[in-house]
């Protein structure tokens, strides 16, 4: 049985401050998921992840996370990834509070 590939984004944490970042189409690391490149092809996703993993001087722990396309660009699918776009729920810290 072939598994259907669901769209992904490449995400990681910034090396210096640990903040969540996403890989954009032009190879930048953005602080907003909406600027991420939505990867709809499995082979291409693998190549982008390899690129990300070679950027260990900028980011830590790159991986592929499920995403879907939304009004403003890619959006998270899983709640964990949704929290990563905002920050903790007990204080307005992290992205929701301007870090």
């Amino acid at each position: 049985m072939t598994r259907l590939f669901t769209p992904k984004v490449v995400t990681a944490n910034d090396l210096l401050d640990g903040d969540v970042v996403w890989l954009t189409e032009d190879g930048r690391w953005s602080r907003s998921i909406h600027e991420a490149e939505l990867l709809e092809d499995e082979a291409h996703a693998t190549i982008r992840l390899l690129l990300a993993q070679s950027q260990g001087r900028r980011v830590v722990g790159a991986y592929l996370a499920d995403a879907r396309s939304g009004e403003h660009g890619p959006e998270p699918v899983h709640f964990r990834e949704a929290f990563r776009t905002r920050g903790p729920s007990n204080y307005s810290h992290g992205k929701q509070g301007g870090i």
Binding site: N13, G56, F83, R84, P88
Partner: protein, 556 residues
């Protein structure tokens, strides 16, 4: 308390200097993350969901006002103005930046603190009864022993690459406040038949994926033989422990697989081998440590002010009913400062609050402070006549919640608000439950009740031993909370029983309220605690309250 000698001081400073160079090399690209990761973990630095996190050890929970002020300073200068006290008697900073880490570690070293061995497959910070040295029921202050263990285990060459992490807890009192039965080794002080203090040695306890109640491997160990005996246990496990499977590596699995009797035999054998080489050295060291922990000179003064304040001020009376524990001196009390104001994050303290606690400890508490595994802060020695002033000062710092041991005194791990391993959130669940019972004004009516929440099976929130335990899971991409009932973390440790299917994030507070209302309805009298009632009636009535639709309709 224990003060570093020149050797300790040089050791910690050297480690900071090394780490400074390592951070620099990571930033300039000469170290990869794979190379850097073990180095940062050795220094307590984790990468969490939104940021780095630094975990700082508070050895056996003992901290002085100068150190507390330095934590306040670090929180302000390098973080977001607060720190989070954990169930391992550590403090965590949730937002440090990589470049600042060496400076933070230097600031810690200035006050003789560090983050070494708060991570990795080493012997971790030994935890202790937070009432140590003060409790009325204590046989002896146990803290010289963890200090001995700490010095012996820190950077011990044989024990840097153990099969897995190794946690030891100790209590000097037969009433276990240190959850010793949930540790790799638990040490509970008892007296021999002829009245000599020694340790009951418990082995193979642990929560997490495969929770197990520790078993007694030695009913009585003379205190002087502690070090060789612990070394014998660790080295037997170091040889037998499963390095092939992370989930089977803890000593609880080794004990389970080989049987307690076989482990006991091997430990005694090894103990007999190494004991001769230990003689002479540690008794001397220990005598030195005992002096460090001699405790303050207690004052003899009238306690009338305390009684008068209790008569005059109902709020003070309520606080002194819940937040005080019996001190070994009748004119003194042990104060628990609640970091559990309903709606606040369990275990969090702002820099201002840390400074207030430091000041109060200096003014009224002989300069002593403790961190409890229940995420509160303790003033171990307060003269009763000073309690009204302590209470006023705590109120000013917003630290006077009168709820220790009650439904809103909830343990919660950081969960998915911070922790990279989490499967669900725990903090907002704790906040909502505490606020709900606060609004209902039921907490004193309910009486002693421990709710403990973990955000994944690693069980940092000790949910298995909560009277009501809550475990946050990810069920098909949705947060789901599994409830256990009847857990007990004392010397009679019991693991809680699962009630059945879990509840969604939106349902979990309602579910807890249904459990508590069921208890109120079925208890024999107000004197029967939740745990006693549970032991009497078992799971069924609570299951009915949770899952039976008719019962719910009736209650509505």
């Amino acid at each position: 308390m224990y003060a570093y000698n020149d050797f300790d001081e040089a050791f910690v400073r050297e480690r900071v200097a090394q780490f400074r160079a390592q951070v620099e090399r990571r930033i300039n690209g000469s170290l990869t993350e794979d190379e850097f990761r073990p180095l940062r973990l050795m220094n307590g630095l984790y990468l969490q969901l939104h940021a780095y996190m630094l975990r700082v050890a508070v050895p056996y929970g003992t901290i002085n006002p100068t150190q507390m002020r330095q934590l306040a300073h670090i929180a302000e200068a390098f973080d977001k103005g607060y720190g989070h006290f954990t169930t391992r008697q550590n403090i965590q900073f949730n937002w440090p930046k990589l470049r600042d880490l060496p400076d933070i570690l230097d600031a810690l070293a200035e006050v003789q603190m560090h983050a070494i061995q708060t991570s990795g497959n080493t012997i971790r910070n030994v935890t202790a009864d937070h009432f140590a040295g003060a409790a009325a029921d204590e046989i002896e202050d146990p803290r010289p022993y963890p200090e001995l263990l700490r010095q012996w285990s820190t950077d011990h060459p044989e024990f840097q690459f153990l099969p897995r992490k190794f946690k030891i807890a100790i209590t000097g009192s037969p009433n276990d406040r240190a959850v010793t039965k949930a540790h790799d080794i638990g040490l509970r002080m008892v007296r021999s038949a002829d009245g000599v203090p020694g340790f009951e040695v418990i082995v193979g306890g642990g929560l997490g994926r495969t929770p197990m109640v520790g078993k007694v491997i030695r009913g009585f160990l003379p205190t002087g033989e502690l070090l060789p005996y612990v070394e014998a246990v660790v080295s037997v496990w170091n040889l037998l422990g499963r390095r092939d499977n992370k989930y089977k590596a803890r000593i609880k699995i080794t004990v389970h697989e080989h049987g307690l009797d076989e482990i006991r035999r091997l430990v005694e054998e090894r103990f007999a081998e190494i004991r001769p080489s230990f003689s002479g050295v540690d008794p001397q060291l220990l005598a030195g440590f005992k002096q460090h922990f001699a405790g303050p000179d207690l004052a003899v003064r009238p306690v009338d002010a305390f009684d008068a304040a209790r008569r005059a001020d109902p709020a003070f009376r309520s606080w002194s009913d819940t937040n005080l524990a019996a001190h070994r001196a009748a004119d003194y009390a042990i104060v628990t400062i609640s970091l559990k104001k309903p709606g606040a994050t369990p275990g969090d303290a702002t820099s201002a609050q840390m400074r207030a606690m430091a000041r109060i400890a200096e003014t009224y508490g002989h300069g002593e402070l403790r961190i409890s595994h229940e995420q509160n802060v303790i003033l171990p020695h307060v003269h009763k006549s000073d309690l009204p002033a302590v209470y006023r000062a705590l109120r000013e710092a917003d630290l006077a919640s009168a709820n220790v041991g009650l439904v809103s005194d909830i343990i919660a791990c950081p969960g998915m608000d911070y922790c990279a391993l989490a499967t669900a959130r725990s903090i907002p669940v704790a906040q909502e439950i505490a606020e709900r019972f606060d609004a209902l004004k039921l907490d004193h009516e309910i009486g002693p009740l421990k709710i403990k929440i973990s955000g994944c099976i690693y069980a940092c929130g000790h949910h298995h031993v909560g009277h009501i335990g809550i475990l946050g899971l990810d069920r098909a991409g949705v947060e789901n909370y599994q409830i256990t009932l009847g857990g007990d973390g004392t010397e009679d440790m019991v693991l809680g029983d699962k009630t059945g299917p879990g509840f969604s994030y939106d349902e979990i507070s309602d579910a807890v309220e249904r459990i508590v209302r069921a208890y109120l309805a079925l208890r024999l009298s107000q004197a029967e605690t939740f745990l006693q009632a549970y032991k009497r009636v078992g799971l069924e009535p609570f299951k009915a309250a949770l899952y039976d639709r008719e019962a719910q309709a009736d209650a509505a």
